[in-house]
C-alpha cells in the first residue's frame, strides 16, 4: 500500500518476519531465470510523438524526491525519472505489467548463497540525464540516502539487506551487505535471509542510483537528477510538477517515451478535475482519485476514453480473532455468509469486483471467486447458512464496535457492514474515524478493536505483499485483528523465499486456508478509472498494475 502509515508498518512487520525466517534457516531457492529483455521494440513505431499532456490529481505526492516518497502519485512521476536496476514491463495492461525485467542491469540478478545473495551487473555506457556516467557505486549511495532521509519504504532495505539496520541506526558508515564494483559494474546484495520479493524492491524508483554529490536530504522542490525517460522541469511542491523528456535516455530494450512534456497539477476538488477531463481541458484524471458520483454517469458514457481497470487492491473487514465474539469461528463464518459482495460493489459505484480472496486477480497465486465458501461472491448472501452458523456460535446479542473510515465509499461500507452484524444478532455500533488517522488509530496497540474495515494497495505485484498482512508471529500493527495461526505463519515464511511464480499454487492454497478459517472477510478488488481526454490515444496508453499511470507509454492521438 503506497501510503505512509501502512507502508512503514508493513515493512516493519516484514522485517520481523524475515528475522524469524533467518532464525529458522532459510530453505534453498533457485535463482529465477532472467527472461529476455526484448519484450518491446524501440517504441517509436506508430502513433503521434511529442506534445504536452496535462494530468490533474486531487492529491499531491509528498515530495518530488523518490528517496522520501512512496505514494502512488509520486511513483507515477518518478517511475519515469528514476530508473532502477530492474523495472516493470510497460505499455501492457493487466498481469503482464507485473512482470519484472532488467532496467539498468544487463539482466535479472544472479541468485546465489541459498537465496541470500543477489548480484546485478550494470549495462555499460549508462548516463544520467545531465550526462554524468552511472557507476555501480551510485546504487549503494542511493540506498544509503534512502535510509537517511528516510524513504517511506526504507525498511525494505534496512530489514532485508545485511548491514541495513546498522546503517539506518547510525552504527555503520556503509551498508555492509551491498558491495559495488565500479570496474566490473557489479553490485552484490547480501540479504539477512532468503527473501524473494527483494527483486521487486530493486525495481522500485526509490532504489534507483543518484549521481555523486546528491545531498542526502529531501529535495522536495527539485527532485533528484535521474536516469529515466524523463527529467524534472519546474516544480511547485504540492501544486504542480513538470516532466520533460530526457533526450539522452538510451537503454536498450526500454521504451523512450512519446510525449515531450507532462504537467501534473494538483487540485483537491476532484469533481472539478473530472469535469476538466470530461470537457477536454485536462488530459488525464489521476487514477489514484475516485471519480465523484456526481459525474460518474457522464463519464461512463465516454466509452472511448473511459474504463474501469481492475488493479491490485483488496478490500476487506478484519476480525479480532483472539477475543469475543470473533474468536468464535462460527461467528466469523456467519459474517462471511451474510455478506453480499454485490451490495458492497454497488456502494463503490460498481468499482469492486466481488471476491473473497486476499490475493487480487493481477498477482500470481490468485484463486477463482468460485472457490469461495459460505456464499457466492457474485450471488446473494447465504442468510440461511449465516443464521445457522450464528446459532451455533452462541454469540447472539454480543456487543461489537465496528471501525471504519470516513471517506466515501468507506463510511457506506461501514454502515452496510454494521447492518449485517445487527441483522445477524450482534449489537453493533459504528465508529467512524477520520481517514487521515484511521490506520494509525486502529493500529494503536492500546485500542484492540473488535472488527473493522481495511484496504490494501500493493507495494509491488507479489503475493507476499498481501499475505503478510495477517502474519501473526510478528506483532504487526497491520494485523489489526491479531490473527495468529501457526500454519499460516510458517507457510508464509517458507513461500517468501521463492520467486512467486514457482510457488503460485501454494500461495493460492494459503489464501484459501485463511478464507476457510474466516480470518478476513475480503469482499472485492477495486478497479481504478482510466479516464483521459479525447486527445490521448486511449488504447496505446493503458494503466499499469504497478505504476497506475504509465507515462512512458502514454501518447497523444
Amino acid at each position: 500500500m503506497k501510503r505512509y502509515a501502512r507502508t512503514s508498518t508493513a515493512v516493519l512487520l516484514a522485517a520481523l518476519v524475515a528475522l524469524a525466517v533467518a532464525a529458522c534457516g532459510g530453505s534453498s531457492s533457485k535463482s529465477s531465470k532472467s527472461s529476455s529483455s526484448g519484450s518491446s521494440k524501440a517504441s517509436s513505431a506508430g502513433g503521434k510523438q511529442g506534445g504536452t499532456i496535462k494530468i490533474v490529481s486531487g492529491t499531491p505526492p509528498l515530495s518530488a524526491d523518490q528517496g522520501l516518497d512512496f505514494t502512488t502519485q509520486g511513483n507515477e512521476l518518478y517511475s519515469t525519472v528514476n530508473l532502477s536496476l530492474l523495472t516493470f514491463t510497460r505499455g501492457v495492461a493487466g498481469t503482464a505489467g507485473a512482470k519484472i525485467i532488467p532496467g539498468l542491469a544487463k539482466s535479472l540478478p544472479k541468485v546465489t548463497d541459498g537465496g541470500k545473495t543477489y548480484t546485478f551487473t550494470l549495462r555499460p555506457g549508462l548516463h544520467y540525464s545531465n550526462g554524468v556516467p552511472i557507476k555501480a557505486s551510485d546504487v549503494p549511495r542511493a540506498l544509503e540516502r534512502d535510509l537517511k532521509i528516510p524513504w517511506q519504504a526504507a525498511s525494505f532495505i534496512s530489514a532485508y539487506i545485511q548491514g541495513g539496520m546498522a546503517y539506518a541506526n547510525g552504527n555503520a558508515k556503509t551498508i555492509s551487505g551491498v558491495v559495488a564494483n565500479d570496474k566490473t559494474g557489479t553490485i552484490a546484495v547480501h540479504l539477512v535471509a532468503p527473501f524473494a520479493p527483494i527483486v521487486d524492491v530493486f525495481a522500485l524508483p526509490g532504489t534507483a542510483p543518484v549521481p555523486p554529490g546528491t545531498p542526502a536530504k529531501n529535495l522536495a522542490a527539485t527532485g533528484t537528477v535521474g536516469d529515466g525517460q524523463y527529467k524534472w522541469g519546474p516544480i511547485t511542491p504540492g501544486h504542480s510538477y513538470t516532466l520533460i523528456k530526457n533526450p539522452k535516455f538510451d537503454v536498450p530494450g526500454l521504451p523512450r517515451g512519446h510525449v515531450d512534456q507532462f504537467t501534473y497539477s494538483v487540485n483537491t476538488n476532484v469533481l472539478a478535475n473530472a469535469e476538466a477531463v470530461l470537457n477536454n481541458q485536462a488530459d488525464v484524471f489521476d487514477p489514484g482519485d475516485t471519480l465523484p458520483a456526481a459525474v460518474l454517469d457522464k463519464v461512463k458514457q465516454q466509452s472511448d476514453r473511459y474504463q474501469a481497470v481492475p488493479l491490485n487492491t483488496s478490500w476487506y473487514f478484519w476480525f479480532a480473532t483472539y477475543k469475543k465474539p470473533f474468536n468464535n469461528l462460527y461467528a466469523r463464518e456467519a459474517v462471511l455468509a451474510a455478506m453480499d459482495d454485490r451490495a458492497l460493489s454497488r456502494l463503490d459505484s460498481g468499482f469492486q469486483t466481488p471476491d473473497c480472496h486476499l490475493i487480487p486477480f493481477g498477482i500470481v497465486g490468485h484463486s477463482s471467486p468460485s472457490s469461495c465458501p459460505f456464499h457466492n461472491p457474485n450471488g446473494p448472501a447465504n442468510l440461511t447458512l449465516a443464521k445457522q452458523l450464528m446459532q451455533k456460535s452462541g454469540m447472539t446479542g454480543q456487543p461489537v464496535v465496528v471501525y471504519g473510515e470516513e471517506r466515501a465509499p468507506r463510511r457506506q461500507y461501514l454502515d452496510y457492514f454494521t447492518g449485517v452484524l445487527n441483522s445477524l444478532g450482534f449489537k453493533a455500533t459504528e465508529k467512524v474515524v477520520n481517514s487521515g488517522v484511521y490506520f494509525t488509530t486502529i493500529g494503536a496497540p492500546t485500542l484492540k478493536p473488535d472488527v473493522g474495515f481495511g484496504d490494501w494497495n500493493q507495494d509491488f505485484p507479489n503475493p507476499w505483499d498481501f499475505m503478510q498482512l495477517f502474519a501473526g508471529d510478528a506483532g504487526s500493527t497491520l494485523n489489526y485483528g491479531y490473527v495468529n495461526d501457526p500454519h499460516y505463519n510458517a507457510t508464509l515464511n517458507k513461500l517468501d523465499q521463492q520467486p512467486p511464480d514457482k510457488v503460485a499454487s501454494q500461495w493460492a492454497a494459503l489464501d484459501q486456508y485463511a478464507v476457510n478459517h474466516a480470518y478476513y472477510a475480503v469482499f472485492g478488488h477495486e478497479s481504478k478509472p482510466q479516464f483521459y481526454s479525447s486527445r490521448v490515444d486511449f488504447a496505446a496508453s493503458p494503466l499499469s498494475v504497478e505504476y497506475f499511470l504509465d507515462l512512458v507509454s502514454m501518447r497523444l492521438k
Binding site: 465523484p292 458520483a293 456526481a294 459525474v295 460518474l296 454517469d297 461512463k300 453480499d340 454485490r342 451490495a343 458492497l344 460493489s345 454497488r346 456502494l347 463503490d348 459505484s349 460498481g350 446473494p380 470516513e406 466515501a408 465509499p409 463510511r411 457506506q412 461501514l414 454502515d415 452496510y416 454494521t418 447492518g419 449485517v420 445487527n422 455500533t429 459504528e430 465508529k431 467512524v432 474515524v433 477520520n434 488509530t441
Partner: protein, 349 residues
C-alpha cells in the same frame, strides 16, 4: 412632626385611610379587575399575532410528524432507518426496479409507500431517514437549548449577581467560548468526543452533539443575561430584599431571575434555531450525529453527492431544516414582541 395643615387632611382625604374601600367607587380604575400580570399581558399580545401563531403551528406539525417517524417506518415504509437494502428491489408502477443500480446509483423518489423519496447509496429509505433524522435533529436542538438555557442562565446569574470571584472565573470562560467561531469549535470538540465519548456517554450518542452545542452557545445567552442581571441587581427592589435579610441565592432565584425570565424566554426560540443550524453544520461536517444514525445535517451531506443527478436528496432535508428554523424564528420574533415590546434581543450569528 411639624405638619402643615395646608398639605395634610385636604390633599389626603379620600386616599389616606380610606373608609370606603370595598365600595369600589373610590379606587383608581373604579373596579376590581382581576390582576393582570406581565405574563398574561404577553399572552394577550401573542394571541393577536396571527403570523407567529401560524408558524408555531407549522413547527408543532413538523415536530409531530418527526415524532411519528417510527409509525411511518414500521407501518408504511416497512423498513428501518438504518436498514440497508442495496441489492433489493422495489415495485414502481408495476415494474421491479433495483433499489441501488449495479453502478451504485440509488433509486429516485417513487412517491409510493416504499422509497417515497428514493433511496440512498445503502438502499435505505430516505423518507424514513428524513423523519428519523428530523427526530434526531429536533432532539439534539431541544436538549442543546435546555443546556444553553440552564448553563447560560447560571453563567449570567452567578457572574452578574455575585460578581467578584464568580465573575472573574465565569466571564473570561464565557468570553473564551464566545470568541471561537461556533462551527470551528464544534467540529474540533465534536470530532474529539465522537471518538472518545464523554464519560459514560458513548461517542455515537446524540447527547454529545447536544452537549457540545449547548456549551458553545451558552455564552450567547449568558452574556446578555449577565448584562440584564447587572442592570437588575442595581434596582432598588434587590436592595429592599437585602434590607429584609434575604440571602444572595434566594434573591438571585426569586427576585432577580423572574425579571430576567422574559429575556430568557425570548432567547429560547432563537437558541433553538441556532442549535438546529449548528447541529446541521456539525453533522454535515461529520462532527455531529454519528453514522449510521441520520440527522438533517448528515442527510444533506449524503445528498450532496447526488446534487447533479437527484437534487431532491439534498434539497428535502435542507427544506425541512429551513422550514423548522424559519418557523422557530418567526415564532420567536412574535414572542419577543409579546414579552417585551421594546427589547431588541438579537443574536449575533
Amino acid at each position: 412632626m411639624a405638619l402643615d395643615p395646608a398639605i395634610g387632611p385636604d390633599a389626603g382625604s379620600g386616599v389616606v385611610i380610606g373608609s370606603d374601600q370595598g365600595s369600589g367607587g373610590a379606587w383608581e380604575g373604579g373596579r376590581h379587575a382581576p390582576a393582570v400580570g406581565p405574563w398574561r399581558l404577553a399572552m394577550r399580545r401573542m394571541r393577536r399575532n396571527r403570523v407567529a401563531l401560524a408558524f408555531l403551528g407549522l413547527f408543532i406539525l413538523i415536530v409531530v410528524v418527526c415524532v411519528l417517524a417510527p409509525v411511518y417506518s414500521h407501518d408504511i415504509a416497512q423498513i428501518g432507518p438504518n436498514q440497508n437494502n442495496i441489492t433489493g428491489q422495489v415495485k414502481v408502477g408495476g415494474q421491479e426496479k433495483d433499489v441501488v443500480a449495479v453502478d451504485g446509483t440509488p433509486i429516485g423518489p417513487t412517491f409510493t409507500s416504499h422509497y417515497f423519496l428514493g433511496a440512498d447509496t445503502n438502499g435505505r429509505d430516505l423518507a424514513v431517514r428524513l423523519l428519523y433524522g428530523g427526530r434526531t435533529s429536533l432532539l439534539i436542538g431541544g436538549v442543546a437549548t435546555v443546556i444553553i438555557i440552564v448553563l447560560g442562565t447560571l453563567f449570567g446569574l452567578l457572574s452578574g449577581y455575585l460578581r467578584g470571584v464568580a465573575d472573574g472565573i465565569l466571564r473570561p470562560l464565557m468570553e473564551l467560548i464566545w470568541s471561537f467561531p461556533p462551527v470551528i469549535l464544534g467540529v474540533v470538540v465534536g470530532t474529539a468526543l465522537a471518538l472518545g465519548g464523554l464519560g459514560p456517554i458513548k461517542g455515537n450518542s446524540v447527547f454529545i452533539p447536544a452537549f457540545i452545542i449547548g456549551v458553545i452557545y451558552s455564552p450567547y445567552l449568558g452574556k446578555p443575561i449577565r448584562g440584564e442581571i447587572l442592570r437588575l441587581r442595581e434596582q432598588d427592589f434587590v436592595d429592599a430584599a437585602r434590607a429584609q435579610g434575604m440571602g444572595p441565592m434566594r434573591i438571585m432565584f426569586t427576585e432577580v431571575l423572574p425579571n430576567a425570565a422574559s429575556t430568557i424566554i425570548v432567547f429560547i426560540p432563537l437558541m433553538l434555531a441556532q442549535a438546529l443550524l449548528l447541529e446541521a453544520y456539525l453533522s454535515f461536517l461529520g462532527a455531529g450525529v454519528q453514522a449510521p444514525n441520520a440527522s438533517w445535517g448528515t442527510l444533506i451531506a449524503d445528498g450532496l453527492n447526488y446534487i447533479e443527478t437527484t437534487p431532491t436528496f439534498c434539497l428535502i432535508p435542507g427544506i425541512m431544516l429551513v422550514l423548522t428554523v424559519l418557523s422557530v424564528n418567526v415564532f420567536g420574533d412574535g414572542l419577543r414582541d409579546a414579552l417585551d415590546p421594546r427589547a431588541q434581543v438579537r443574536i449575533k450569528t
